[in-house]
């Protein structure tokens, strides 16, 4: 037979206080306390029907254990009481409380809150988590290739690091992971929620931007390793996602998710340097911009948008638009409308993230996160409307999982992809199409890993029906 916990607690309280009432009252009750019949000290109270406590159960053996403990009481048992309480042992809790007069007085007065205050004010050891959900592997949000050093750099926005690997690393099956040749991580680095990555083709400097809490672009020298401070920090707007550079004019472009804009800085900007110009306003169509690519040859700028639109100053202006690639003049400023828009169901765009342009062919590569694909659009400088990609890398052989970063290695004719969802980077021939296996895989977790994809877990809810945690990003 099993009985409900609260009934047991009440019954135990009643029995205890009846059994020990005379002694305890003589020792701890204030003189002015009214004389009462011991049977009225505690009563069994009907709990609200909605109390989830009603569903908790306790084994009757607890009562037996409690009975045996009555004869074993010791003085000053506050800590024991708290420990017993936390272990869900009402009998032991009561017994320990007998040695703590203030707690017992509070209980006699029906004031559990005061009793607990007595317990905790006595100094309790910290709680330790029963369970912890945390991804101990990196979550790769972006990738860059340093063709001069023959290296790839992977941006990790879970553990707030970036990791450098040899370009030809390939994690064999059965091997847990490939260790990086350099790891930049730690409080000195100022890396946090880092999403965008750029490698200077001239000197190998590594640029990193981030999306939420730090509002900084940090720049490290090529050889940086360990917990090191960046060589330069630029204070940026809130919610920067990605970065691109016009090397011809030494201008640096970043997308800002909201309020949406593209902000242009001098490439060597640092500190509180103000932007050279900004693209922002209702005409721009920058509805949650993410990826960005520069076309120096055609003087164009490509931006992927998710279609989330509103003016935060005006109530009720929110809208959902389809995801798109929007094309601007590289010299655009202010409230400039896009020159062309690539959008529609044929495009397959779905949370398009990073993009890269092959200036030799005009092909635009898109890391297409939710669609688990890499899309390639031909003639990006002129494409518009509801156009289908000329090539799509997608399928079970590709090992793509939430691809959000893409980089082109034109020297070796390869396209690199960072997979947010499985702690890996995969590389394909530049002209790959369809369900193709990667040429190589750099894994930072065991094969088959599914990342938690936690990205700033600022809230949580509990699904009591399914006994599941709901965790938004």
């Amino acid at each position: 037979m099993r009985v409900r916990t609260h009934e047991v607690v009440m019954a135990v309280l009643t029995m205890t206080l009846i059994a020990t009432g005379g002694l305890v009252l003589a020792a701890s009750a204030p003189p002015a306390a009214p004389s009462t019949d011991t049977s009225r000290l505690v009563s069994i109270q009907t709990m609200p029907l909605s109390s989830p406590d009603m569903c908790a159960w306790v084994d009757p053996a607890e009562l037996t254990a409690f009975s045996s403990q009555i004869d074993e009481a010791s003085p000053d048992q506050t800590e024991d009481a708290l420990a017993a309480f936390r272990r869900g042992r009402p009998g032991a809790f009561l017994m320990a409380s007998l040695g703590a007069p203030n707690i017992l007085t509070s209980l006699q007065q029906g004031n559990l809150y005061a009793a607990l205050q007595q317990l905790t004010s006595a100094g309790s050891s910290p709680l330790t988590a029963l369970r912890t959900i945390r991804d101990t592997h990196p979550t790769y949000s972006a990738v860059a290739v340093d063709v001069n050093a023959n290296e790839i750099i992977l941006q990790d926005n879970n553990l707030w690091s970036y990791r450098v690997f040899n370009r030809q690393d390939n994690t064999p099956a059965g091997v847990e992971l490939t260790p990086p040749k350099r790891l930049v991580q730690g409080d000195k680095t100022a890396l946090q929620f880092n999403n965008g990555l750029y490698v200077d083709p001239k000197n190998g400097d590594i640029y990193s931007v981030e999306s939420d809490t730090g509002d900084k672009m940090v720049v490290f020298p090529h050889e940086a390793d360990g917990n090191v401070a960046p060589k330069r920090i630029l204070n940026t707007p809130h919610r920067v996602y990605n970065i691109a550079v016009d090397e011809t004019r030494s201008e640096l472009f970043v997308t800002v998710e909201y309020p949406p804009e593209v902000v242009v800085y001098s490439k060597d900007a640092g500190g509180d340097t103000q932007p050279l110009r900004r693209i922002q306003g209702d005409a721009t169509g920058l509805d949650a911009p993410h990826g960005i690519a520069v076309d120096e040859k055609n003087r164009l700028l490509y931006v992927t948008t998710w279609g989330h639109h509103s003016n935060f100053r005006i109530p009720g202006t929110g809208r959902f638009f389809p995801p798109a690639i929007k094309v601007y003049s590289l010299d655009a400023r202010g409230d400039s409308a896009p020159l062309r828009v690539i959008t529609g169901d044929r495009t397959q765009l779905n949370w398009p993230a990073a993009i890269k342009l092959n200036p030799d062919t005009g092909d635009l590569y898109v890391a297409n996160d939710i669609n688990q694909s890499v899309l390639v659009f031909r003639n990006a400088a002129t494409a518009q409307g509801n156009v289908a990609p000329v090539r799509v890398i997608k399928g079970d052989k590709t090992r793509l999982r939430n691809p959000t970063g893409v980089a082109l290695d034109l020297k070796n004719q390869e396209v690199w992809v960072s997979n947010l969802g499985n702690a890996s980077a995969t590389v394909y021939p530049l002209m790959a199409n369809g369900n193709v296996a990667p040429l190589r895989v750099v894994r930072s977790a065991p094969d088959g890993k599914r990342s938690l994809n936690f990205g700033r877990t600022a809230a949580v809810a509990y699904d009591s029906r399914r006994e599941q945690l709901l965790v938004p990003n």
Partner: protein, 251 residues
């Protein structure tokens, strides 16, 4: 996203889409790229802001979804749970007597406080932010009748300062407001009337790595408190029967 709600009565998940000023409701068992079953969005809704739409609360007993608006409006909007499309709120709390101070938007940033309902005592708890700082330097908690409307005075106030992080929770049977603050769970007693300056009961619950920016949920059946920490990308579950304990009655 700084808040969400699970409605166990109707088996639904309620979230906001801050960048689109929308409230989305999904099936409780929704999975993958699944469309919401209802969307509240449009000019009639009066939904405003970005950070301001990061928090949402539900009152499943009364079939209501609640959302705050930033200063200077300082309102609480109540939508019918089954509302869909461009619909007006069914009622509002707002006005000088309410003492609401939801905080300002700053170029799309700035978060309003979370709100929670005590279904046992018919209460709606709303922390104030405003000049006390967003998300955490602490403010008062205003306590209203959950069916209140218009320019009403709060029934009671916890003077605090209460730091509620992104979320706080209410355990109605014990009249407790529970929040995680500075590596400890804080249990504040919810007063019946007047202003309460009673300090919280603090239970040390360190989160380790990067404990800032937290959310919280309760699992009363297992007597557990779940803490999300944004900076640590971590969810931790603690056994805390103190929160769910049942007090004996002297009557």
């Amino acid at each position: 996203m700084h808040d969400l709600a699970y409605d166990a009565i109707h088996d639904e998940i309620v979230v906001t889409s801050p960048l689109t000023q929308a409230i989305l409701t999904f099936r409780g068992g929704a999975d993958g790229e699944e469309a919401p079953i209802r969307v509240i969005q449009g000019p009639k809704t009066g939904i405003q802001g970005v950070g301001a739409t990061g928090k949402v609360a539900i009152d499943p007993d009364n079939n209501v979804i609640m959302l705050a608006t930033p200063a200077p409006r300082n309102e609480i909007l109540f939508f019918a749970r089954e509302a869909n499309g461009d619909v007006a709120p069914i009622r509002k709390i707002g006005g000088p007597d309410t003492m609401l101070d939801n905080g300002s938007q700053r170029e799309g940033g700035g978060n309003v406080p979370a709100m929670r309902v005590d279904p046992i005592h018919n209460l709606l708890l709303i922390p104030t932010l405003g000049q006390r700082g967003s998300n955490g330097s602490g403010g008062r908690v205003l306590i209203f009748d959950r069916n209140a409307s218009g320019n009403v005075k709060p029934k009671a106030i916890i003077t605090g300062p209460v730091r509620t992080g992104n979320q706080f929770e209410v355990y109605g049977p014990n009249r407790l407001l529970i929040a995680h603050n500075r590596d400890a769970l804080e249990l504040w007693r919810i007063p019946e009337s007047g202003e309460s300056s009673e300090p919280p009961l603090r239970i040390p619950a360190p989160l380790g790595r990067n404990s800032a920016d937290t959310g919280i949920a309760l699992d009363p059946a297992h007597k557990e408190v779940i803490i999300a920490t944004a900076a640590g990308n971590t969810i931790m579950t603690f056994s805390v029967p103190e929160v769910f304990a049942t007090a004996p009655s002297t009557r």
